[in-house]
């Protein structure tokens, strides 16, 4: 009898235990080789510790051995979804350092390409986000529309993702004769498809329940963690480099910086959807007005930057991308640093996911739109 009593005393409170789960490096929702060490209590996430470096390729070290035009093709491989913006950052940085002004035509084309890249990136993000929430069909609708943008890239730049379209002083080629017509056709087509995105996923009650009030990141935290891009703007962090330090043709176009103060997953979702509309409007403003002129300046065979330190910020689809070149006057950089948006965004994940369920962790991570080579570099 006394034995039984003891057992009852021992089990009067249901014993719970924390346990750790490795999400990744091979996990469907990490979109690459990110490893998250998740501490769980039942389904509740107590702590998320990202472990990076599985695809660290030492791009910064590699860049120290090659010349400035050659660096550009390596920047394709970091954030492969905003390859054109990363290219542009290096090209702009070198142009600024050499104090040359590229022709207007180049600026216009670069801006259009930027926005097309942003559209393509946000489309891929949208379809993957749907998939992370469990709506598998979104994946194909997003890719369907993205493929057409990639076709435009392929026709003009010669590659679908790793475009390498910029060079210091201009562009690799002039735009293809079909370019303007194709882009206009595409914009017309995509304007009919984008409302479908809203109807299929944005309005869906399950999706709303899954995202509203989930993954809260306040403005102060967003600034403190350096969470930029759509993720930061959903917390009200006005971080759009296109607006605050405009480059290329951005000073010439009218567009709104999408800000949202709800700070949750839904806000991050809607900021991106609205940014797609803004991108469409920017492209529409520019596509008919591309001025005539050279597509590239005649540059010297060997580019040597003056001694000094140069920093260039651009806005990629994921946030603020920075190139910091320390030059000692040689043809290759003394030190080059890429400030990648994904790196800073990733580490806010712990703050956002704490206390939510595993399923929310996946959904929150997806709203950050992480690209692993961008984090690891």
């Amino acid at each position: 009898m006394s034995e039984i009593k003891e057992v009852i005393v021992k089990t009067d409170r249901l014993a719970t235990d924390k346990y750790q789960v490795n999400m990744g490096p091979q996990h469907p929702s990490t979109h690459g080789v990110l490893r998250l060490l998740v501490t769980l209590e039942g389904e509740k996430v107590l702590n998320v510790q990202p472990h990076t470096g599985y695809i660290h390729s030492g791009i910064e070290k590699m860049c120290e051995a090659i010349t400035y035009p050659q660096i550009i093709h390596l920047t394709d491989r970091m954030d492969y979804l905003s390859a054109h913006m990363s290219n542009e950052a290096v090209a702009l940085c070198v142009e600024n350092a050499l104090q040359i002004e590229v022709p207007d035509r180049v600026k216009y084309i670069r801006t259009i390409m930027d926005e097309l890249t942003r559209l393509a990136s946000h489309q891929l993000w949208w379809c993957v986000y749907g998939m992370d929430l469990g709506a598998l069909t979104t994946f194909f609708y997003g890719l369907r529309d993205r493929e057409l943008i990639l076709d435009i890239f392929e026709e003009t730049c010669g590659a679908r993702m790793t475009v390498s379209y910029n060079t210091p002083g201009g562009l690799m080629f002039d735009i293809h004769p079909n370019f303007q017509k194709r882009v206009k056709d595409y914009i017309k087509y995509f304007k009919t498809k984008l409302p479908e995105y809203d109807q299929l996923l944005s309005g869906n009650v399950i999706m709303r329940e899954r995202t509203e009030g989930i993954g809260y990141l306040t403005l102060e935290e967003a600034i403190d963690f350096g969470v930029t891009g759509p993720s930061g703007r959903a917390s009200g962090f006005s971080s759009d480099v296109r607006k605050h330090q405009p480059y290329s043709a951005y000073p010439l176009v009218k567009f709104n910086e999408i800000l949202d103060h709800r700070c949750d997953s839904l806000a991050r979702y809607e900021v991106r959807i609205k940014e797609m509309w803004e991108s469409i409007s920017i492209i529409e403003q520019l596509i008919d007005n591309i001025p005539e002129g050279d597509y590239a300046l005649k540059m010297k065979g060997v580019l040597k930057l003056p001694e000094g330190e140069f920093y260039q910020r651009v806005e990629t689809a994921r946030g603020e991308f920075g190139v910091f070149i320390v030059s000692d006057g040689k043809k290759n950089p003394y030190r080059i640093k890429f400030r990648s948006p994904g790196f800073s965004n990733l580490f806010a994940l712990n703050k956002m996911a704490k206390g939510h369920k595993i399923a929310d962790l996946v959904a929150i991570m997806s709203t950050l739109d992480l690209i692993i080579p961008d984090i690891d570099r």
């Binding site: 090659i66 035009p69 050659q70 550009i72 093709h73 390596l74 491989r77 069909t137 369907r144 493929e147 076709d151 392929e154 026709e155 003009t156 730049c157 010669g158 590659a159 790793t162 390498s164 060079t167 690799m172 080629f173 293809h176 479908e196 109807q199 299929l200 996923l201 309005g203 869906n204 009650v205 399950i206 709303r208």
Partner: protein
């Protein structure tokens, strides 16, 4: 009572959003002939790549087995990955002068990132980007190619 009405309304609103979603997918499922995928190996004959598509570096030869490469090595310098190696030889021109010329233009496709810098840098336009994208081979050594064909020589009139 108010919360009860809200509860009922929320059910209908929720179901309505679900039905809208089903309308979108339903629109596609009942038009299955509007699929967007390509049947790749079957459409090989009709598949045309864009003219600027970067599939591999090639060196075009004329019918007389002549190319434009002078063996200057600028492409080798411009390549970021070291995927081009130029082996040159010295030949004796008809005038009796000794001259450097290309022996082998070695191209490692396996290392190439198709960045177009070599093509852009080439002063004589000897190398261009080819549109072939089916590069799969059983043996990695087959990815190392010699671009100038055996017995080929440089075209007349290409400036050194």
């Amino acid at each position: 009572m108010k919360s009860f009405i809200e509860y009922i309304v929320s059910i209908f609103k929720g179901v309505w959003t679900l039905l809208i979603g089903m309308k979108i997918t339903g629109k596609y499922v009942f038009t299955p002939w509007k699929h967007v995928t390509h049947q790749y190996p079957e459409n090989r004959d009709t598949l045309v790549m864009f003219e600027r598509f970067r599939g591999e570096v090639i060196m075009p030869h004329t019918d007389n087995n002549e190319h434009k490469c002078t063996g200057c090595g600028i492409c080798e310098i411009n390549c970021p990955n070291g995927s081009i190696e130029i082996i040159s030889k010295s030949i004796i021109t008809p005038e009796g002068k000794k001259k450097r010329a290309i022996d082998q233009h070695i191209y490692h496709l396996g290392m190439c990132t198709l960045c177009n810098l070599c093509v852009k840098a080439c002063p004589t336009g000897a190398i261009v980007m080819g549109q072939n994208f089916e590069h799969a081979v059983w043996d990695r050594s087959k990815l190392t190619k010699v671009l100038n064909q055996p017995g080929s020589k440089i075209s007349e009139g290409v400036k050194e």
